[in-house]
């Protein structure tokens, strides 16, 4: 009985670790790589150059 509980516990740890890594790397792929040290949390997609910009917000 103890042996089964033991295996269940380590399996839960492994599943938890796997979920954490998957979440972390999915997030880092869409941001600036939270997995690395010294990285930014948010990244800006660089816009193409435009000569004239109207000062109207794209969103309210």
């Amino acid at each position: 009985m103890n042996h089964i509980l033991d295996i269940i516990l380590v399996s839960l740890f492994a599943i938890g670790a796997l979920i954490y890594l998957l979440k972390n790397y999915t997030k880092s792929a869409s941001s600036c790589g939270s997995a690395c040290s010294g990285c930014q949390s948010k990244c800006t997609k660089i816009q193409e150059q435009t000569k004239i910009i109207r000062l109207v917000p794209k969103h309210k």
């Binding site: 033991d6 938890g16 040290s37 004239i52 917000p57």
Partner: protein, 623 residues
């Protein structure tokens, strides 16, 4: 809170005028500040409240000389100001940050900002240094000529900050509709000439006394920027840095090692047959502990870098390296991204945003992972400590430190060679010169150095406690299941999933001398390079008997690997594309999978080829 009680304020100014220092001083943040251009390449948000409880969202933006925005980091600034970013705040007020010691270079941007129609407040920053150097301006007249409030500030001394915050109370959020919208047009050559002429006139009117040049800094520069002596001094500084890694850091490392070894042994003996106890002892303590023991090395290198940055030397190092980098066709601005890559390739790749030419930017992105990032340090330190004798050579140099210095140099020179190849064959084009403002030399502030040192320590420990911990739990699981058959003669790990994967892939790596254990370590090493050390610690802990659990990983490796294998693995780590995050960021920064794939393939070929050479050469000369 109603909307009138909220205000979005952007900090805008030329590079290296103290925007981030002002941002930190106003918001209590501790974003990275340095006295050279190109440190901020992304917007950052912080918050503060005025005396009337107005909530200010302060946006720190990359430095720019003009809203014409030629490089990607400058485009970030322009797009935030013009609200061209989805999910970005609309800026209500701009604080134009000016370097009071170099007003001429800053004022054109203020004139451009005035054209946007967004209210502008001028913060004449670094005014304490300007006063010390004898500069004196008529701020009242400057305010009249620019038609905006001008406040003298010093972010480092925290002068003028209250006045600045009080001013923000006078503004309300902007309301813009399509009817009253302004159009901003990029200034053409004639407008730029007109701005320059206006700047000249303003300076003539407001400058009551010209400052004296920084004489001491000029004198020091004559020595440190000397074409020959300067390079010798730079190499000496780097040499001392790597010597220190092995001389200063060894004692605390041994101390940490013994703590983790004893803890592992103690836990393992609590219930030798329990899986949970094995997970904690052999997976978590052995794995994560084997990385944490390298904290002293990380701190030693970080200390040197912080001292070099704070003193003003780092900009000089960029200047000295420019000739060498120019020789292989690299852009002058490539130095700062490559320097950042010594901490981690990801901020390094992001820092290439300061390079306006796309071809030059791509070359710098492609070679950034060859710079020796801090994640390689544990692997190098472990293998050098295990296989290179700790003896003195040439009467003064520690051989281990010398080898570490050689590995860092190998990363730099292979990067330069690859840059030359890329530029010569694929990205032909002229070379852009480096234009760099050299800061004056200053004595590093011990409190600031201490606070800055906490950052890499926290980052390193957080990584060990999160990603490396998670990877080690999985590795332990894969190394422990399925259980070995009854009467099995080999260690249990040989029958595990990790053992099977390692043995399946090992023939691919056999020509470069890698055992199946190394192959297993390389796979999670893609998530974080240094995790390979942890995996080896766990594998050997699970492979061994109770006696050698106490032995350090370095000792185990010494007795299980040949010198050829160790040198081959070190060489692999110099070149290999061992980091998924780096590839992901390269994809995002280039907007294409093409470049990360090229990066991965060329690094893989380089790593395999170099390891093959090193392995076979070492086998042929060792008994």
């Amino acid at each position: 809170m109603n909307n009138s009680q909220k205000l979005n304020v952007a900090l805008v100014g030329k590079p290296n005028c103290g925007k981030t220092a002002l941002f930190n001083a106003l918001t209590g943040n501790r974003q990275k500040v340095a006295n050279y251009a190109g440190v901020t390449v992304e917007k950052k948000h912080g918050f503060l409240r005025t005396n009337t409880q107005k909530l200010i969202t302060l946006v720190d933006l990359p430095g720019t000389y003009s809203l014409r925005a030629r490089s990607p980091d400058e485009k970030v600034t322009r797009d935030v100001i013009f609200n061209q970013q989805q999910d970005e705040l609309m800026i209500d007020v701009i604080i134009a940050v000016l370097d009071a010691t170099n007003l001429t270079n800053c004022l054109r941007l203020v004139l451009e900002l005035k054209q946007t129609g967004i209210p502008v407040i001028v913060a004449l920053n670094m005014s304490d240094i300007a006063t010390l150097r004898g500069f004196k301006y008529d701020l009242h007249l400057l305010s009249e000529l620019l038609a905006c409030t001008v406040i003298a500030t010093s972010a480092t001394k925290k002068h003028g900050l209250n006045d600045l915050v009080e001013q923000l109370d006078n503004y309300s959020p902007r309301i813009i509709s399509a009817d009253n919208a302004n159009s901003w047009q990029e200034p053409d050559q004639s407008m730029i000439r007109s701005y320059s002429s206006q700047v000249h006139n303003i300076i003539q009117q407001v400058e009551q006394r010209k400052g004296v040049p920084a004489i001491l800094s000029h004198k020091i520069d004559k020595l440190l920027l000397h074409p020959v002596l300067g390079i010798v001094i730079l190499l000496t500084i780097l040499f001392v840095m790597f010597q220190a890694v092995f001389s200063w850091a060894t004692i605390p490392q041994d101390w940490l090692q013994s703590i983790f070894d004893n803890t592992q042994n103690y836990i393992a003996n609590l219930a030798p047959d329990s899986f949970l106890v094995s997970l904690i002892a052999n997976g978590i303590v052995a794995g994560v502990g084997s990385i944490i023991v390298f904290l002293p090395q990380i701190l030693t290198i970080s200390l040197f870098i912080i001292l070099l940055e704070d003193s003003g030397y780092m900009a000089r190092a960029a200047f000295l390296m420019d000739k060498l980098m120019g020789g292989v066709g690299l852009h002058g601005r490539a130095f700062i991204p490559l320097l950042s890559s010594f901490a981690c390739a990801i901020p390094g790749i992001m820092a290439t945003r300061t390079i306006e030419n796309r071809k030059d930017r791509l070359v710098t992105i492609l070679i950034a992972p060859l710079m020796t990032c801090s994640a390689r340090l544990p692997v190098y330190t472990l293998l050098i400590g295990a296989f290179i004798p700790a003896k003195t050579v040439f009467g003064f140099a520690n051989l281990q430190g010398l080898v570490m210095f050689g590995l860092f140099s190998l990363g730099i020179f292979s990067g330069l060679i690859m840059a030359f190849i890329f530029k010569f064959f694929f990205f032909k084009g002229g070379r852009q010169p480096l234009i760099l403002e050299l800061p004056i030399y200053t004595m590093p502030n011990p409190i600031n150095v201490g606070l800055e040192l906490i950052k890499p320590a926290k980052s390193f420990l957080r990584r060990a406690g999160t990603i490396i911990l998670a990877v080690m739990i999985i590795i332990w699981f894969l190394s422990s299941f399925p259980a070995p058959p009854l009467h099995a003669s080999a260690p249990a790990i040989d029958y595990s999933i990790a053992g099977m994967i390692g043995k399946f892939l090992q023939p691919i790596f056999a020509p470069i001398g890698f055992s199946w254990q190394i192959v297993v370590a390389l796979i999670p090493g893609l998530a974080a390079r240094e995790v390979a050390v942890s995996v080896l610690a766990t594998i050997f802990a699970l492979s061994g008997n109770a006696d050698n659990v106490q032995q350090s990983l370095a000792f185990v490796l010494q007795h299980q690997w040949s010198l050829a294998t160790a040198l081959s693995l070190i060489t692999w780590y110099v070149f290999a594309p061992q980091c998924i995050s780096t590839l992901a960021v390269a994809k995002r920064e280039t907007n294409s999978w093409k470049w990360p794939i090229i990066m991965f393939i060329y690094q893989l070929i380089l790593a395999y080829g170099a390891s093959y050479l090193v392995y076979n050469l070492t086998l042929s000369i060792t008994p």
